[in-house]
């Protein structure tokens, strides 16, 4: 589903991603862990072209991201093409980024109407169904400011799901939440994983990683230092740095 090949990314002199290779299979849940500044978030943003990569290639479902093949020559995507590609990938942000001037229903219905040109009534029915799916059937007409952090993040998940994405990217979805609200968001993500969604999740929630993740990747200074099943990574990490990191967060 996702293929990342020798991707490099720098911000000025800071080399954030170093020759990253990654393959994610359909229906697989991959969890990225690592210290802050290790490049987890940047990798996620690169897959969605929120950041342009300096070198390497990224494919999602066989489609190259940010580039297209024009008679054997790779060319940078024009905006229209990039928008089409992005519409098929859901992204959930640490800080929710709900549209604050719209109700929960409007937040979720916006992209289907604007991007897929779905009739308004149909889009609103879809939005209501998606909100019900994350347990917010009673909050359709609430504005984000009237919702708790956990509820906002679930609206954000519903908003992404309304576009029927092939892949969902989660960037520390529970880091901005009060501890008692983390559970409801993780529950929604777990449900999504059970339904067979392909997911890449950046998180510090090791319980979630262990329970839901098919594979754990440990990033260190912009490179994937170690990867394995949750069982391997949590019980028998091979690298000293992985052991040190896990001992701090577990």
């Amino acid at each position: 589903m996702v293929r990342v090949e020798r991707v490099n990314k720098s911000f000025g002199a800071l080399h954030v991603l170093r020759d990253i290779d990654l393959d994610v299979k359909t229906r697989e849940v991959v969890v990225l862990i690592g210290a802050s500044g290790s490049g987890k978030t940047t990798l996620l943003r690169c897959i969605n072209c929120l950041e342009a990569i300096d070198s390497g290639r990224i494919w999602v479902d066989g489609v190259p991201m940010g580039f297209h093949d024009e008679a054997g020559v790779f060319k940078r995507d024009p905006e229209r093409l990039l928008n089409q590609k992005r519409a098929q990938i859901g992204f959930v942000f640490q800080r929710f980024n709900l549209f604050s001037h719209m109700t929960a229903l409007q937040n979720v219905a916006l992209a289907p109407t604007m991007v897929k040109r779905m009739p308004r009534r149909e889009a609103e029915e879809l939005a209501a169904a998606q909100l019900a799916r994350v347990g917010l059937a009673d909050k359709l007409h609430a504005y984000p400011a009237r919702l708790s952090g956990g509820q906002q993040q679930r609206v954000a998940i519903a908003r992404a799901l309304a576009m029927s994405p092939k892949l969902m990217l989660f960037d520390e979805p529970t880091s901005a939440l009060d501890p008692e609200l983390v559970g409801e968001v993780l529950e929604a993500m777990k449900q999504l994983a059970d339904e067979g969604m392909t997911m890449i999740v950046v998180t510090h929630e090791m319980g979630f990683a262990r329970e839901v993740g098919d594979r754990i990747l440990f990033l260190h200074e912009g490179a994937i230092l170690e990867e394995g099943t949750p069982e391997q990574m949590f019980n028998r990490p091979r690298q000293e740095r992985t052991r040190t990191f896990l001992s701090k967060v577990l």
Partner: protein
């Protein structure tokens, strides 16, 4: 104090004085409307990734902010007909001058409003597949407009007061009528005191309407 106030002169000429309100409001509202549209375009232009466009918009703002409004007024009235060959009434010239001047300030208000919107809002829209234009129209501008209301009202009040400059070119606004009446009655103190009160009342009504609008829009925040 040897001066005796005789406010009776205001009462006897009330109709004549208040007839100036029409020109004052006409020039102000027309200049505001044109200025807001031009200001929106220039303000968005300043944020463009196209360097030339951003530079042109920047130059526009600098030129009209850094020259006196009265000079712009006179310049438009005398020079524009020569340059374009189109003859315009004083009222139209004044409206254009106040509009382009106001637009420079509006552009800065628009720019500030847009820049105050969290980047995350734009990123969220783009990850959903919305285009740059759709993001601007549906996400950024609606939120920015709300934040632009208070400075926009400031600018509107300033423009209403600046409109008194049009009297210099003989447009029969509130100030012009007051000048005419002063020279015939020799009662400038009473007359201009009254005119100040009228301006005050107009501006107060304007700010209160805006306050109501702001409260209505604040529901979702």
């Amino acid at each position: 104090m040897t001066y005796t106030f005789q406010f009776g002169v205001v009462g006897t000429n009330l109709g004549f004085l208040l007839s100036g309100i029409y020109a004052t409001l006409y020039v102000t509202i027309a200049a505001l409307a044109i200025g807001a549209v031009v200001g929106l375009v220039v303000g968005i232009g300043r944020l463009s990734k196209r360097r030339l466009l951003a530079a042109l918009a920047g130059a526009y703002v600098e030129v009209f902010r850094n020259t006196p409004a009265l000079v712009q007024l006179i310049w438009v009235y005398y020079c524009l007909p020569i340059l374009t060959g189109i003859n315009m009434s004083a009222a139209v010239s004044c409206t254009i001058a106040l509009a382009v001047n106001g637009a420079a300030y509006m552009a800065e208000i628009v720019r500030g409003g847009i820049q105050s919107i969290d980047r995350g809002q734009v990123e969220a829209a783009r990850t959903l597949g919305l285009s740059h234009f759709q993001t601007m129209r549906k996400i950024v501008l609606p939120q920015a407009f709300r934040r632009m209301i208070p400075p926009f009202v400031n600018e509107s009040v300033a423009l209403l007061k600046f409109s008194s400059l049009v009297s210099v070119l003989g447009v029969a606004d509130l100030t012009y009528q007051a000048q005419v009446l002063s020279t015939t009655t020799f009662r400038p103190i009473e007359i201009f005191t009254f005119v100040a009160i009228v301006y005050f009342a107009l501006c107060t009504v304007l700010s209160h309407c805006a306050r109501l609008l702001e409260l209505r829009l604040a529901v979702s925040d």
